[in-house]
Symmetry: C2
Subunit: 651 residues, 2 copies
């Protein structure tokens, strides 16, 4: 079909000028120089009754044969009335116009007969009496799915992403994202003098950290890497005196297999000179309030956000990004348990830790189904450390009755009251306990059980989490962690400055494990949505830290030289925008707020990317594909499991 938009244009120009839109530069409504339409579908209302208008959109539904059409654009739906005489006259066109065809309609806005008014629909009081319909582009009649029918797998929605955009949830999320990001720009650029600087995506490999994608260059054997963050660049901008930098930057990490990670993701990247932790935390709190989408989410969160030291987060929640929308905190009852031999012989071990948490609705938890899954989660957490034994206990306890109510442990009747007072157990509560040799593993394990318990209770109809947006700073992270191989590694990255008072500990290898970094994480509803630090600005200290981490100075020569050339004290942060917006949008998956996401295996199902290339393309870059290479990820190409991905995200 060879369309002639020119024709249509002339037709609608004359329609416009007849109704007072004389100029080619018509800006009388949301549309810019719009040759096809005078209004958006969803913006028409009673106040337009009696006006001749032109609209464009997708044929969303037909009712009563061809008499009523629903026309859709991004702004909403509009009912079109095609009277009988027109139906005969336009027979051929009407038949060709299958659902989702693109049409332009000119006509008169009229009130609907009172009995037909639809109060559920913003334009439900009116309809457009068609004087002219033009089929701009017919759609095939056998589309893979219709936008208002979401009864398809995520795989199909990814494959035909352009159809999924026509569904309001995804498009609404993209529009929300656009406006929140713009709000952040307003705050940073317009109100606080930040400079938006674009940093390169073709860079060199960063030592340590995540796996980076390689990009072969024309120089044989030499490769660029796609940066996992603009970390080095933003520090170099500070060395260059830019003072305040921001960028909404794409980052790349080859982490395929994790369904909730994307190989490319977006962060709001910020760096400031002459600041301390307070400066950054205050800035971000104000930024989030200033860019808060109140029209979607109501009033912004109150600031300042609470702060929790890492050690306390681990002790109370068993995780460094606690979901604080509900209680059920973890308590250490080791001394009590040992004294009363709660878990039998295990508590006789010198290293044994016993932790407990109290959960509501104890009856629903004291069931084998729950216990089985909770045990699995706990054991999964410690399976990498086979030496550790771990035990789970769940009890329903009351002052009235004595003895073990469910499984795994016995509270002697004489200490029952003391136990309940200690943990503030109410009637109807269950106590979930964990005993094991390794404190950290027990914390992590029970932390996961805590989240699972909340999910389980909510699935069973008990609202556990509050509806609010619970922001939280986690601070005082360890600076270094000891890897499995006994090698010291950065807890975050080698550029994080130690806490000022602990800098002298760098001289004492025995104390490296105690050192805290000037690092901070921003947590929202149990998800990490940001992280940053005050950086090392002294070349001497940076060299010592690289030595400690056994990173070759040569790999970071440019940064070391820069620190030696007059580097101001500086620090920054990055917010993970995909995750943040997905929480704003109420989605459990970041894929719901990314226009063209990839599957867990890194595939773009729409364009079938990645794909094979020609030998001459490879020769140009002096590379060959290894023969007999195994392709572990190819198998999962067709097995994007939507539900499992979402479960993991929620966990």
């Amino acid at each position: 079909m060879l369309e002639h938009p020119q024709e249509m244009r002339v037709l609608y120009r004359s329609a416009h000028s007849r109704h007072g839109i004389q100029s080619l530069r018509c800006r009388t409504f949301t549309s810019y120089t719009d040759p096809f339409r005078s209004h958006l579908c969803g913006k028409l209302s009673r106040e337009h009754v009696g006006q001749h208008v032109s609209v464009c959109g997708w044929l969303h539904k037909k009712r009563m044969g061809q008499q009523f059409w629903l026309l859709r654009d991004w702004s909403g739906l509009l009912q079109i009335l095609i009277n009988e005489q027109r139906q005969e006259q336009w027979l051929d066109m009407l038949q060709k116009a299958s659902l989702e065809s693109v049409v332009a309609v000119r006509g008169l806005v009229q009130p609907r007969p009172e009995e037909q008014a639809n109060s559920d629909m913003p334009t439900g009081e009116i309809e457009l009496h068609a004087a002219e319909i033009k089929l701009l582009n017919p759609a095939l009649s056998n589309l893979p799915f219709l936008p208002h029918n979401r009864q398809v797998t995520e795989q199909v929605r990814l494959r035909y992403r352009y159809l999924d955009f026509r569904q309001t949830p995804l498009q609404r999320a993209l529009r929300l994202r656009s406006s929140v990001l713009m709000g952040m720009r307003h705050f940073l650029h317009d109100q606080h003098g930040f400079v938006d600087v674009e940093t390169p995506y073709l860079f060199r490999r960063t030592p340590g950290g995540a796996r980076e994608f390689l990009v072969p260059s024309q120089q044989a054997g030499k490769f660029y890497s796609l940066p996992q963050s603009p970390q080095q660049f933003k520090q170099l901008l500070m060395v260059g005196g830019l003072d305040r930098y921001f960028q909404i930057a794409r980052c790349f990490r080859d982490e395929s297999r994790n369904p909730e990670k994307q190989p490319e993701f977006t962060q709001l990247d910020i760096e400031m000179s002459f600041v301390d932790t307070e400066s950054i935390l205050g800035l971000i709190e104000d930024l989030l309030v200033a860019s808060w989408p109140s029209s979607h989410l109501g009033s912004p969160p109150s600031i300042p956000f609470p702060r929790l030291p890492y050690a306390e987060a681990m002790a109370s929640y068993g995780i460094d990004k606690p979901d604080t929308r509900f209680g059920m905190k973890i308590h250490d009852i080791t001394a009590f348990a040992r004294h009363h031999s709660l878990f039998g012989t295990i508590t006789n071990d010198r290293d044994c830790t016993v932790l407990a948490m109290v959960a509501p609705n104890g009856d629903s938890l004291c069931r084998t189904a729950f216990e089985k899954q909770a045990k699995l989660i706990l054991e999964n957490e410690v399976r990498h450390q086979p030496r550790n034994k771990v035990r789970l206990g769940i009890t329903r306890i009351s002052r009235e009755e004595t003895g073990n109510k469910f499984s795994g442990l016995r509270i002697p009747s004489n200490v029952q009251s003391e136990f309940m007072d200690m943990l503030k157990v109410n009637a109807d509560d269950a106590v979930i306990m964990c005993a094991g040799e390794d404190r950290v593993n027990c914390q992590k394990g029970l932390g996961k059980v805590r989240l699972f318990t909340a999910d389980y209770l909510e699935e069973n109809g008990l609202k556990v989490r509050s509806d609010k947006f619970d922001f939280l700073w986690v601070i005082d992270f360890p600076l270094f962690v000891n890897s499995d191989k006994g090698q010291w590694e950065s807890a975050h990255h080698p550029f994080t400055a130690p806490v000022a008072e602990e800098m002298h500990m760098l001289n004492d290898p025995q104390r490296w494990g105690e050192m805290r970094g000037q690092h901070y994480d921003l947590v929202l509803n149990g998800a990490e949505v940001g992280g940053g630090s005050i950086r090392v600005h002294s070349a001497a200290m940076q060299r010592r830290i690289l030595d400690l981490l056994r990173i070759d100075h040569e790999e970071l020569k440019h940064l070391l030289e820069a620190l030696d050339s007059g580097c101001p004290p500086h620090g920054g942060i990055a917010l993970g925008l995909d995750r943040l917006i997905s929480i704003y949008a109420g989605s459990s998956s970041i894929r719901d707020v990314i226009a063209f996401p990839k599957t867990a295996a890194g595939n773009d199902l729409m364009s079938s990317s990645p794909c094979s290339v020609t030998k001459s393309d490879l020769d140009f870059y002096h590379i060959s594909v290894n023969e007999n290479a195994k392709t572990p990820l190819e198998d999962s190409f067709d097995s994007v499991d939507d539900s499992s991905a979402e479960t993991k995200a929620a966990a």
Copy 2:
């Protein structure tokens, strides 16, 4: 050196609170929650006299021993007075503080003694009497260059880019860029309802077009490509009903060797549904006015911009991006020349074209030096077509004198007046002519001579180009061009719609060469700064065009399916922001407005990227580097020739 910013912080907090800045969240000046400083260096003036302030910055200069310091931050310079007593007291610190060290100073703002006031310096009326100086981070004393000394090659400035940022020209350009881009976002998002959508950088190879970088995936033999533009994505967003999309997008093309191209560059990418060419052109004109940096450049250009059909641009300027800041248009004088045998026998050829342009200051052009270079340029242009003979002629002509004044051609004295009237030659003008067999080559050749002539005259002190910003639309481009191999190719890309009235010509292969596309280019001062088109929205037409171009439908299956699913008429444009901003900033090279640019060979001289990677990195991606591969670009690694790059850019 282990710095303790904590100390400094406490020190300055107390300084602040003493002078009325009580809160940790101090927002009384440009700085955000600023623990180190109360003011920026360049923002202090007479009105602050008598105030105790704290500032931070780089030690820019020392005068009269240690008595006067110039302290610099991005906002400007500030003179610090260190009295004799302090000099003794701080001896050690003052000696350690070499130029470019980072320091914090607290003191009292005082007027300078009248004879010392410096009216060239915004803070020239005052100085800061130091009460306390803290050396935050000393710089090495042997830096590769000092920021106020630009007497180094571009290679050195690229290698130590962070020092180059400290020079105001580069940092000013980056700040200009940031604010112009923000102005564009304001216009599009806030005022015109465009949605900012981020599209993927890991995509699949696009058939045809520029060379794309490959990114190996974990799936053996499968590769992503870095997209040369978001073209397909933005069309798919229109299919999805997004209506108005924009993005400031990074684009990637492996075009190393061209010193004025960067492997990654930035474009403002726009797409709209239900529009025609008028809509896009009007939008962009208003966008450029709305985002115009008036404080840097004065009043915005007047709109609408002039429009020039491609054929006319070629005929009058010999190029599709004419520099219209000056005249010297090309005229076709073939008939006249043939009639009077101006170039001797060559004009007897049936295909001969004779073109002429008139240039001022004829005396300076009628010289061997100019003629030689002009001839070289002309011959360079046609050397790829050895069959073509081409001749250059330059004459100084007047009504008073007769005969050939310079070279290459003779104007018979009896037609001298007619010739001068025809070309409107004034006394003092030179006429530059070109005769050859191929009209297009002659046009292009003389077009280059025209630009060279303007450069030559300007180098010799004659102002030829006006100072204004001369925007111009070039329209009516051919849709297809016939390649050297006799194969039809898209003049721009396969998604450009034909001009509506010419769509039927698709059926007639004889007329493919005549067809025009609905494409438009935006030209500023002789540089292409934008281009776009109304797209093909019919799947049937898209298939026919792919057939004509011999592009496998399978490569664009997703796009064809999308067009078949209800695609609105749509069109868009992309503006090349690097080039646009470089013209705004008065730079001849886009490298001057890019924070971290690469050399012509694609090298990042600062980080030494690209670089070698380990075998295990390659194994992870199932690739090997070919043995004995030649690395044509490696040699040029150390030979970035600044001057030649800039000459080419200006040409």
